[in-house]
């Protein structure tokens, strides 16, 4: 029997040796770069990395893509002390203590990088306690996509700059058709929190106090109640379908299937809509009456792990990523450089223009998740209130009050 156990051990040893070959050390310097991008976007990142390798002989950029498993992967890697050198980042409050502050490097290379060309708002998103932890890679603001063919067929006038939610609702009502299951607009019941935050801002309130001390009087303010009540009414009157209650059908899927005349989204939906061959237009977000409209800025930025063995090389790569050459390649994101946007004539392109106009209006507020370390848990309560309001198609005040009460525990 011992002999057989020995054999077993041998098999194991041989197997592990066979696999060990895979981890052979090469002479190259390897820079690990992790991203959540997939498919076509990933191809672009690989192209940028290749160009960087060409400029820097002896360097290999290992592009690691994890799709929507990105957060899990990062948690395991950081938790065990083996993070990638350079990575896409958005959740600065959670990760900043393990990231490299970049202010000094930015100051040193400001001229070479032409930092003036990058809107300050995009860098400010990466700031925690005053320090910047990322260089923007791409950004998006939020807009309304609308189906031009459906508008023409229904004889509805297309949205114009400066439109309001009342305008949108009047238009949306005209598209509802029970038989073909068509709607004018879609309301998210399980939203990306940014979506509602920008509506709160646009109606003159916030999720949380500027100093992060309380949500009472903000999250449940009359303006907040008004926002939720309006969406609930839209659902009730069938001006909009409700997304996310028991249905994974996304707004973009409905829009691509011409079941939806308008839907609110960001840059990331554009590629898919282009591919589906929809004849569409883009409008700015509507305003609440005469209050100034405001959009969330969704930005991806490149950060460097504090633990990296090669900070200079990592920084060089990040700089290259923000260079005009690389920015131009990243056509699925809005360019972070004003000069590139202008050169590519995006600022005057009817499809792209609204994104930039929204950006110009949107540097007044910062996101709630930057203001309190327990925001994640508070947000869960808010999400619950939104969902409950959409299910009951009303009672916004009650649900928001309850969200505030449930959040007290986390604000201590």
């Amino acid at each position: 029997m011992k002999k057989h156990l020995k054999q077993l051990a041998m098999v194991t040893a041989v197997a592990s040796m066979a696999l060990g070959g895979a981890s052979a050390v090469s002479a190259e310097e390897v820079l690990r770069f992790a991203t959540w991008n997939s498919s076509e976007n990933l191809g672009i990142l690989q192209e940028i990395s290749k160009r960087f390798e060409a400029d820097n002989p002896g360097v290999k950029v290992q592009v690691e893509s994890y799709g929507d498993g990105y957060d899990k992967k990062l948690i395991a890697a950081f938790g065990a002390g083996n993070p990638p050198d350079v990575m896409y980042m958005w959740n600065y409050p959670k990760y900043h203590s393990s990231l490299m502050p970049l202010d000094e490097l930015m100051a040193r290379d400001a001229e070479e990088m032409d930092l003036e060309d990058i809107p300050a708002g995009l860098i400010n998103i990466t700031r925690v306690e005053g320090k910047a932890y990322g260089i923007p890679a791409g950004f998006t603001t939020h807009v309304v996509y609308y189906n031009k063919d459906m508008f023409a067929a229904a004889g509805v006038a297309e949205p114009v700059a400066g439109w309001t939610w009342a305008d949108l609702r009047a238009k949306a009502a005209k598209f509802r058709d029970k038989a073909s299951k068509t709607y004018g607009f879609a309301v998210e019941a399980k939203p990306d929190p940014y979506d509602y935050e920008q509506f709160f801002w646009s109606n003159g309130t916030r999720f949380i106090a500027e100093d992060g001390s309380t949500v009472d009087g903000y999250m449940n303010s009359p303006e907040a109640v008004e926002v939720l009540t309006m969406f609930a009414e839209m659902a009730k009157n069938e001006e909009a379908t409700v997304l996310g209650i028991g249905d994974n059908t996304s707004g973009s899927a409905l829009f691509k299937g011409s079941k939806l005349a308008m839907f609110q989204s960001a840059m990331w939906s554009k590629g898919g809509i282009d591919k589906a061959g929809i004849n569409y237009g883009v409008a700015m977000l509507p305003a609440f009456g005469d209050k100034p409209v405001h959009s969330s800025i969704g930005a991806s930025a490149m950060s460097i792990a504090k633990a990296t063995k090669n900070p200079e090389l990592a920084w060089k790569f990040v700089k290259f990523f923000a260079s005009p050459e690389a920015v131009k390649l990243r056509e699925n994101d809005l360019p972070i450089r004003t000069s590139v946007a202008e050169e590519m004539e995006l600022t005057s392109d009817p499809i792209f223009q609204p994104f930039f106009e929204m950006l110009a209006l949107s540097d007044r507020e910062s996101n709630a998740f930057l203001k309190h370390k327990n925001w994640g848990k508070i947000q869960t309560n808010l999400e619950r209130a939104i969902e409950a309001t959409m299910i009951e198609k009303g009672n916004a005040k009650k649900h928001l009050d309850s969200a505030v009460a449930r959040s007290k525990r986390h604000l201590k």
């Binding site: 011992k2 948690i75 938790g79 393990s98 994974n248 994640g376 619950r384």
Partner: protein
């Protein structure tokens, strides 16, 4: 190893030593694996549960605070636990009973059973992510095939995943799609039942239902025990389907305990708290499994059990 001939006491002793060692050698792969890959993480997570342990940043010892917050302050702990229990009460019996019925049905040597077995196993072959996408299409309120088909029959289907009254049931049904695994285990178990028993019973005129109750079920009981215990475990660890299909909603009606742990770890980065959750879950499953295991001496029949007292009963 040839049979030792007892020549002297030393050899005798050595023989006895080897005899004693043999069982441990047989189970040694698992023991080693436990020491290498399980014990460390287990101790680590136990220590973690007494800390405020964010994924990155400072770790501070907080004593029993994680346990105290979970049991006395966080309403989600009890809510999610209750939802999981409700789910288990549906899932475990259905999984075992339907699995058994299918196995018995497909154990017959008639044409096409191979085909049917493969069909019933089909969903188990599809990876979880894709399966959930399919369920989303099936259950979709307005655009789903289920309500489309119900509509053809003149029934207005509910909002399966959007109505807190239906959502848990919808998750139970989707989970039962994995029945093929249970079926297969029981089908394998059926193969070890001597055919002679059935033939003898048939000749004596025992009806089919009685053969099922008096032969199949007792002879299959070791495998049934296995499926009951593993069903309980999988009910408590239920995560993927609910996470991807409903995200715990609507209104937390499908917020399982495993999702509570998952959120605390991966959404809120509170590894210490999640570790404390996990230990509680571990103890609950362990207690339930022990109860089932303890009860098994009353209903599980082992043909090959080594009971000294019964050795002569034959």
């Amino acid at each position: 190893m040839t049979t030792l001939v007892v020549q002297d006491e030393v050899a005798e002793e050595r023989h006895r030593f080897i005899e004693k060692l043999t069982p441990y050698l047989f189970i040694s792969p698992w023991i080693l694996g436990f020491l290498f890959f399980t014990l460390g993480p287990l101790i680590f997570s136990f220590i973690m549960s007494f800390y405020d342990w964010p994924v990155v940043g400072e770790r501070t010892f907080v004593g029993l605070q994680n346990y105290q917050v979970m049991l006395t302050e966080d309403p989600l702990f009890w809510d999610s636990l209750w939802i999981t229990v409700k789910f288990g009460l549906f899932f475990v019996p259905f999984n075992v009973i339907l699995g058994l019925l299918l196995a018995v049905l497909l154990n017959q040597k008639v044409i096409g059973t191979g085909f049917f077995r493969t069909i019933f196993y089909l969903p188990s072959v599809i990876s979880g992510v894709a399966l959930v996408t399919i369920w989303a299409w099936i259950y979709s309120h307005e655009y789903g095939i289920l309500n489309f088909l119900l509509g053809l029959a003149g029934i207005e289907g509910p909002n399966w995943l959007g109505d807190p009254n239906w959502s848990l049931l919808a998750i139970v049904i989707a989970s039962l799609w994995g029945l093929g695994g249970t079926m297969l285990i029981l089908l394998t178990g059926l193969q070890s039942i001597p055919k002679e028993l059935y033939e003898a019973a048939k000749i004596s005129g025992v009806p089919a239902w009685a053969r099922l109750v008096y032969i199949t079920i007792p002879m299959l009981s070791p495998m049934l025990l296995f499926t009951v215990i593993t069903s309980i475990i999988s009910a408590f660890q239920q995560l993927t389907i609910a996470l991807l299909l409903t995200g715990g909603g609507p209104l937390e009606s499908t917020y399982f305990f495993a999702m509570y742990i998952y959120d605390n770890a991966f959404k809120y980065f509170e590894m210490g708290f999640a570790a404390a959750n996990s230990w509680v879950m571990f103890l609950i499953i362990l207690a339930l499994s022990m109860m089932v295991l303890k009860s098994s001496s009353a209903w599980v029949y082992y043909e090959g059990e080594m009971k000294k007292t019964e050795a002569n009963d034959d």
